[in-house]
Symmetry: C2
Subunit: 327 residues, 2 copies
């Protein structure tokens, strides 16, 4: 049986091997992606982002546990995590002081955690992460978390890969309102105010509410076939992830957001947007590779030297390179 078939039948060892192939961008890995692709498109992809110290790894850990142990009558979901943050405990560290320890979920056959350490030759971290997500999706994982750290481009990239974006904040991350960036809130579908047992949590929530009301939300034109009269308003949910407090409400918000996406036509719109971003990312990388193959290393070095010595400006060097390196 081929590696792809084994993965589709739920073989965990085959999955681990294929993820490595895909991450290393081997020929076998890229061919497997093509073969697996028709089986994708079912998983709910949930981005989780926030500054270091907000406790987002603990939160993801608790969410996995809750999704694996739902209330009676609900089906436990198969859950995967792609941790893009290399400092994440999912990449080898330990979450100390957590009630739910990593080993509680790590031993579960329907949970798969993978760190995305590769910087990805073909399109960078975003492409590499998208590929891992595709494999998990095809392998039947129903909810896939992508965990990233920090503020900035990483968040925007996540928003392009995920159906639902959770932004994690914590009180006391600096005593000023600057700690809460309007830019991050723009991509949030759900806001989790973690470490809510800390002092100043009321202030932090008030500031967040103010920022959300002020922030001109990301211009998402309503889908044409929208059946929802009201747009989604990101809820602010308090948690103490290390204690497991407030987790069921976050699980419910994730499910509500999925329902909102599917009934409003937003799901298709985001899916299309997501795949377009992914394709354009691959294109940029491939075009660059093709150009590099067309220009002799000597010509490239000469142009670069003239750039450094200020004989050519960047835009002039660009014109020459686009012209095949002829001066």
């Amino acid at each position: 049986m081929s590696l792809v078939e084994s993965v589709l039948q739920g073989n965990r060892l085959a999955l681990a091997r294929l993820l490595t192939q895909v991450e290393n961008e081997t020929q076998q890995g890229l061919e497997a992606l093509n073969r697996l692709y028709p089986y994708t498109g079912k998983a709910h992809i949930v981005g989780v982002t926030g500054a270091p110290g907000t406790g987002k790894s603990s939160l993801v850990n608790q969410l996995i546990y809750a999704l694996r142990h739902p209330p009676p009558g609900q089906k436990p979901l198969r859950v995967a995590v792609v941790a893009v943050d290399p400092s994440s405990p999912f990449s080898g560290g330990a979450i100390l002081g957590d009630r739910v320890r990593m080993r509680d979920v790590a031993g579960d056959a329907d949970v798969f955690i993978r760190s995305s350490a590769s910087r990805g030759a073909l399109g960078g971290v975003a492409a590499s992460t998208a590929n891992l997500v595709q494999v998990f999706d095809a392998a039947g994982f129903e909810l896939i978390f992508i965990e990233t750290v920090g503020a900035g481009q990483a968040e925007v990239d996540i928003a392009h890969l995920a159906h639902t974006v959770i932004v994690v904040e914590a009180p006391g991350l600096g005593d000023d309102i600057q700690a809460i960036k309007a830019g991050i809130l723009e991509i949030a579908d759900i806001i989790v105010l973690n470490k809510a047992d800390r002092p100043m949590v009321d202030n932090a929530e008030r500031a967040l509410r103010m920022m959300i009301e002020m922030a001109s939300r990301k211009p998402i034109p309503a889908a044409e076939n929208s059946q929802s009269a009201f747009p989604w308003t990101p809820p602010i949910l308090r948690t103490v992830a290390t204690e497991g407090t407030g987790i069921p409400a976050v699980v419910e918000a994730i499910q509500n957001h999925r329902h909102y996406l599917q009934t409003s036509g937003e799901w298709e719109r985001r899916e299309r947007h997501r795949l377009q971003s992914e394709l354009e990312n691959l294109l940029r990388a491939a075009l660059m590779k093709r150009l590099q193959a067309a220009i002799s290393p000597e010509a490239y070095r000469r142009i670069l030297s003239e750039l450094v010595s200020r004989q050519l400006s960047p835009y002039q060097a660009l014109e020459i390179l686009l012209d095949g390196g002829k001066q």
Copy 2:
């Protein structure tokens, strides 16, 4: 007199107008960049980065003031700031509680502060920031700060644009060591531990020292013409930026690092690396634009639809697009 000539002669109004042209990527702006480019290469470009709440805007503010009011016998430097973070007080907000207020430096004719709000059609935020830096460099600003927020890609991009990278940390950004990311420290030339009047500052410094010792530093092969027997070790400097405490030591470290770069051959190496990154960034964007012009919007839409319906995988769609859209 042309706009470019006025800028070269130090006309502040012309500078403001040209920055806007460059930011909007108008034909006039891009032509001006070509004409200004031979005048660049003199400024010391200093990246300042750190998570929200570390107080990096207050620090930059104090550094500007110190560089404008040096000890007797030293020449005040002309200073520019490109604030990439849209939530930065330099982009319109206020730093409350600072001894040195924005207006103390904002009224100074030899200080120019500009936020880089543009996402930049031709190569994104990084290209847009690089262009603003070029204009300031040509206009005779001797030290240019680039301020960015967050952890992740933004930091790596800054490291490619700057000669010297200052990473700002603060105690109590989360009670765990995770708050301090090894990834950020790898790009740091100078580490500032701001808000050093807070409790736990000793712990934070100890953790930072440990991380630096453990972190395998970014593999920078020594420049071949290196005259320095010892590599640079990033100093950890304590400040309370809102009080102006510890600022002279940071100014000294910036000057020391410049001296280190220039005597070790690292300056040329970073300059070359910086310009190469900038050029490749422009190339990627230009190649993408060219491809989009070569493929009919109908063909592109059809390929995208087949991607969404899972008839084509991303890599298969890529092959077709690289082939001019022919299926």
